[in-house]
Every structure is written in structure tokens, then in C-alpha cells.
């Protein structure tokens, strides 16, 4: 075989392997979503939304877990969003070329990918141990801590996209810096920042590990934030690992609910970003 043919051959092999790798990746996306749909839809029914989690061997729903998840996600979002946005503002607007800013950015990126179970341990020792019991508050705090770095990151990225000519124009009119940031920079970046919040909500709505030792779980309907509260991820974990088929069916239904929610949040965040012309 001459050199030319050999080079062409090796190119075909690499291109073929690359195609195969992409097909492999997509195959699993389809495979995971497919099984989820088949098993989840089979277990979907109205009682999911009307009844609380059952003891083994009887029928029930997931309403306590759904509401618990919604409540804890909402509290985490209320705490995490302003925190993340302000810290992100500092990085984008005040910390240009400062060593401190670079350090914060570095630490934030580490927190962004740190194992979430470690956050669970942290909240366990600072909230659960002093309080003496598991609680929905602890769960919300753990989720907020996971959310903050995501929002810091997207806020900084989005604010950096705002052209500095806008800021300079406002500064030339004599506006103080805080006013420039709040009325000019935020206003031009608001869609991007909202996208970041949506993605952060999507990220925490499936988190299980940090809730295991903070919110724990609750078999019954509860609105007491100071007590253990049911939540979808932990219920899925317990029910899927159980030997009872009706519990397993509920786990599939819960898994489908979570995945659909997360994919919808992700897709709407993307649409939102492309409408506002933020995506390249």
C-alpha cells in the first residue's frame, strides 16, 4: 500500500471511530430517556398528585414528595439567587485584574464541581447537629449552597457580555456606579441572568446526595419546615432500592417527573438565551 492510500485509510478509520463515539453517546441518551418514558408513563396516574407515599403493599402517590421538593427548591432559589447575583456582580464589575477577584473566581469554580455529598456533610454538621434533628430548612440550605456557585458563574459571564460603552455613557452622565450597575448593566443582562437561575434550579431539582442527611425523608404529608420533609429524589432512591414492585413503580414515575421538569427547564433556558441573542 502506498503512502497516500495508507494515510487515507487511517483517516477513514479515525472518522469512523469518531462517528461511532458520537453514536454511542446519543444511543445512551435515547436509551436512558426511552426506558424512563416506558416505565414512567406506565406508572403515571392521577393518584400520584393526590395521595401521599404509601406503606409497602398498598397504593399511593407522591404528593408529599412533590410538594416537599417544590418547597425546598423554592427556598433554596430565594436564598441562592440574590447571593449568587451579588457575588457575581462583584466579580464582573469590581474585581477586574484584582488578585482577590481571581481567587474568589477560582474557589467558586471548585465549589461548582465539588461533590454534592460533601455539601450534605457540611450542612449536616452546621445545621442538623446543632438543631438536633433533620429538617427541610437544612435541605434548603444545602440546595442553596449548591446553587450559589452556578449563579455566580453565569451572572459574571452575562455581565461581562454587556458592552462597556453602555456603562461609560451612563458614567459620563454622572450616574454613580451602583446606579449604573442596577439600572444599566442588570437591565441589559437580565435575560442572561434569568437563564442562569433557570439552569441552577434545574441543577438542584435532581440533587439527591445533599438531601440524604439534611431533609431526610418523611412518609407523611408535612408542611413543617422544621421537621424532616419528603422530597422526590430521596423517595426515588428509597423506593427504587426496595424489593416492592409498587414502590418501584412510584420511583419510576418520580424519576420521569424530575427528568421532564429538568429537561423543560434546560430547554426553556436555552430558548430564552437564544431569543435574547445571547448565544453565539
Amino acid at each position: 500500500m502506498d503512502l497516500y492510500a495508507r494515510r487515507r485509510m487511517s483517516n477513514y478509520v479515525v472518522v469512523g471511530l469518531s462517528l461511532a463515539a458520537t453514536a454511542f453517546g446519543l444511543l445512551f441518551l435515547v436509551f436512558v430517556l426511552g426506558t424512563l418514558l416506558v416505565n414512567g408513563i406506565g406508572a403515571l396516574n392521577l393518584t400520584l398528585f393526590t395521595q401521599a407515599t404509601p406503606p409497602p403493599g398498598s397504593s399511593g402517590g407522591l404528593i408529599n414528595a412533590i410538594c416537599g421538593s417544590l418547597a425546598m427548591t423554592a427556598i433554596a432559589t430565594l436564598v441562592g439567587t440574590p447571593t449568587g447575583i451579588l457575588a457575581g456582580t462583584f466579580l464582573a464589575e469590581y474585581a477586574h485584574n484584582s488578585r482577590f477577584g481571581e481567587f474568589v473566581r477560582f474557589i467558586n469554580d471548585i465549589l461548582l464541581s465539588a461533590p454534592s455529598i460533601i455539601v450534605g456533610l457540611f450542612v449536616y454538621s452546621i445545621v442538623v447537629v446543632p438543631m438536633g434533628h433533620f429538617s427541610a430548612w437544612a435541605g434548603s440550605i444545602a440546595l442553596a449552597i449548591i446553587m450559589i456557585p452556578v449563579i455566580v458563574r453565569t451572572t459574571e459571564d452575562m455581565l461581562s457580555l454587556v458592552p462597556s460603552a453602555l456603562r461609560e455613557a451612563a458614567a459620563a452622565l454622572g450616574a454613580p456606579k451602583w446606579k449604573i450597575i442596577v439600572t444599566i448593566t442588570y437591565r441589559s443582562a437580565v435575560q442572561g441572568m434569568l437563564t442562569g437561575v433557570l439552569l441552577a434550579v434545574a441543577r438542584i431539582s435532581g440533587e439527591t446526595a445533599p438531601l440524604l442527611f439534611t431533609a431526610l425523608n418523611n412518609q407523611f404529608w408535612s408542611t413543617n419546615l422544621n421537621a424532616p420533609m419528603a422530597n422526590l429524589p430521596v423517595v426515588i432512591f428509597q423506593f427504587a432500592m426496595s424489593p416492592y414492585s409498587d414502590w418501584q413503580a412510584l420511583a419510576w414515575a418520580g424519576a420521569l417527573l424530575i427528568t421532564v421538569t429538568i429537561l423543560l427547564l434546560n430547554i426553556s433556558a436555552r430558548l430564552f438565551a437564544s431569543w435574547s441573542g445571547l448565544e453565539k
Binding site: R8, N11, S18, L36, I110, F122, I145, A240
Partner: protein, 320 residues
């Protein structure tokens, strides 16, 4: 003139005051990010102290895990964490490279965005979903088809075959590693895609212009140019794999017994925490689990910091 300067002077302190408050507020929340990380370290060390004091450095090399005699060692979970992550990397890196190569060099333009989105959706699926899928779908599949084949072929090689010894259980280190590979694939692929796109088109076009094939362009131009970024992306994926909890907990079998065969059950640090922490009775038991968490934190911190430093270096290089 004078009057205007006067109002300007009178107004400036008001604006300046607002500035100071707003600036102070943003700094405070930036500091909060540091406090969280500091708090994580302090609380882990504090919680792990009784165990570290009792067992000393030997904790890391002790293979026992016996709640009854209160003899705890971290060797089995550390071993499991490293082996599952290694399997994930062995499968995940080549596949992620292929995907990134396809997206940046081969696929038609209209397919780029949808493909990128799909890979990112794969990253958005939470780990508990991979866990339940792994338990009910992947584990039986591996038990029925993959493991018997491995035992029948690679398992027959003397020495090396010990890695594939024992009955096909489905639940075990191999299955956990495989799920991890699927989970880190999108992270590595999207970082690789991003760094591949930082290669100046001029460089690639020159190579194509003198008749280089796609393979040669990637090996001789793209990869040398993006080396650091690629390694950074791989480390980022490794950081994820090391700390991944739920997907592994479902399929690894949670056995504190170090087994050479990757077909047998094992445990990882995060799986041990998820399974045992709320049921740990006794201070020493709980403290040992927190010590495990501390070790996990140290390992991932080093890996993630290295990844970050490499990606920062690449960014700075691309800027000049």
C-alpha cells in the same frame, strides 16, 4: 457655574454613599463564597477529628470496616473510588474525544447546534436517574451479556484474568465504572469541543491546504495547540467521577471488601456515605464516615484545582 458645582458637590456624597454600600454588599457575598469553602474544610476536619485521632495515618491504609468492633479503615472505599473512576476514564476519554472531534471537524454545520445541545442534555440528567436506570436496565444487561463474555475471554488469561474472576453479578465495580463513563462523557466532550474551537482556523486551513487529512490535522495541529485544555477537561471529568454519589450507590453493591475482580461488588467513598451515614450509630462510626468525606474532598480539590489552573493557562495563552 458656581451653583452647578455646588449641587454637583452636594450630590456626590449621596452617590458615593450608595456606591460604598453596594460595593460593600457585593464584596460581602463574594467573601461568603470563600466562607462556604472554608466552612466545608473546617467542619470536615472537626467532624473527622475523633477518627483521625484514634486511627492516625493508618486510617488510609486500613482495609477493615467493622462497625461492631469499631475498627474502621478507608482503604476499601478509596480503592473503589479510584478504580471506578479509572474505568470511567478509560471508557469516557476516547469516546468524548471522538464526540468532540465529530462536532468540531466532521459534522455538517446545521447539525452542530442540535448535537451540542443533546450532549449537554445528557449532562443535565441528574445522577439519580442514571442510578435507577443502571439498577434496573444496565446491571441486568451487563450481567447477562457483557460479564459472561468477559469471563469467557479475558478471564481465561492467566494473571490478568483475575480482574474478571467470579460469578457475573451485574452489580459491581465494572457496572459502576461504566455508568460513570456515560455520566462524565458530556462534561469532557463539551470542554474538549470548546478548546478545539479556540484553534485559529488559519492554522487548520494551512494544514488542510498542504494536503493533510482530518486525522493529521487533529493529531498534529489541533491536539498540540490545545494539549493543556484537553488535559484540563479530562481532569474536570475525573473530578466529577470521583465525587459522583447516587448513580454509583445504586449499582456498586456496597461491600467494604477489596476484591481484585472488577466484576465483584465494592464501595466508593461517596457510596459508603450515602448508604451508611444516617444509620451510623456511635460517634466513632460517624466520625470515620466524615473522615472518608474529608479524604474525598482532598482528592477532588486537588484534581479540580489542577484542571482549573490548566484551563486558565490555556485561556491566557489564547488571549495573547
Amino acid at each position: 457655574m458656581v451653583a452647578i458645582t455646588d449641587t454637583a458637590r452636594r450630590r456626590r456624597p449621596a452617590g458615593g454613599g450608595g456606591d460604598a454600600v453596594f460595593h460593600g454588599l457585593t464584596v460581602a457575598f463574594a467573601v461568603l463564597v470563600l466562607v462556604i469553602l472554608g466552612g466545608v474544610i473546617v467542619s470536615l476536619v472537626y467532624g473527622a477529628w475523633p477518627a483521625l485521632q484514634k486511627f492516625g495515618v493508618g486510617f488510609v491504609f486500613n482495609g477493615a470496616w467493622n462497625p461492631v468492633t469499631e475498627n474502621f479503615g478507608a482503604l476499601a472505599p478509596i480503592y473503589g473510588t479510584l478504580v471506578t473512576s479509572l474505568i470511567a476514564m478509560l471508557i469516557g476519554i476516547p469516546v468524548a474525544f471522538g464526540v468532540a472531534l465529530f462536532i468540531t471537524e466532521l459534522c455538517p454545520k446545521w447539525l452542530k447546534r442540535p448535537l451540542g445541545t443533546m450532549i449537554e442534555l445528557l449532562a443535565a440528567i441528574p445522577s439519580i436517574i442514571y442510578g435507577i436506570w443502571g439498577l434496573f436496565v444496565l446491571a441486568p444487561f451487563i450481567q447477562q451479556y457483557v460479564e459472561p463474555a468477559l469471563i469467557g475471554t479475558l478471564g481465561k488469561i492467566p494473571g490478568f484474568g483475575l480482574l474478571f474472576a467470579g460469578p457475573p453479578l451485574g452489580i459491581g465495580v465494572l457496572t459502576a465504572g461504566f455508568i460513570l463513563a456515560i455520566m462524565v462523557l458530556p462534561f469532557i466532550a463539551s470542554v474538549m469541543r470548546d478548546v478545539f474551537e479556540t484553534v485559529p482556523p488559519m492554522l487548520k486551513e494551512s494544514a488542510y491546504g498542504i494536503g493533510a487529512t482530518t486525522t493529521e490535522v487533529v493529531w498534529r495541529v489541533v491536539l498540540p495547540f490545545t494539549r493543556i485544555g484537553v488535559v484540563g477537561g479530562i481532569l474536570l471529568g475525573l473530578g466529577r467521577a470521583l465525587g459522583e454519589t447516587m448513580a454509583v450507590t445504586f449499582v456498586i453493591g456496597n461491600s467494604h471488601h477489596i476484591n481484585l475482580s472488577i466484576l465483584q461488588p465494592g464501595t466508593t467513598i461517596s457510596a459508603a456515605l450515602a448508604n451508611e451515614f444516617t444509620e451510623a450509630v456511635g460517634d466513632l462510626y460517624q466520625s470515620s464516615l466524615i473522615a472518608l468525606g474529608f479524604i474525598l474532598f482532598l482528592i477532588t480539590f486537588v484534581v479540580l484545582a489542577a484542571a482549573k489552573l490548566m484551563l486558565i493557562r490555556l485561556q491566557k495563552g489564547a488571549g495573547t
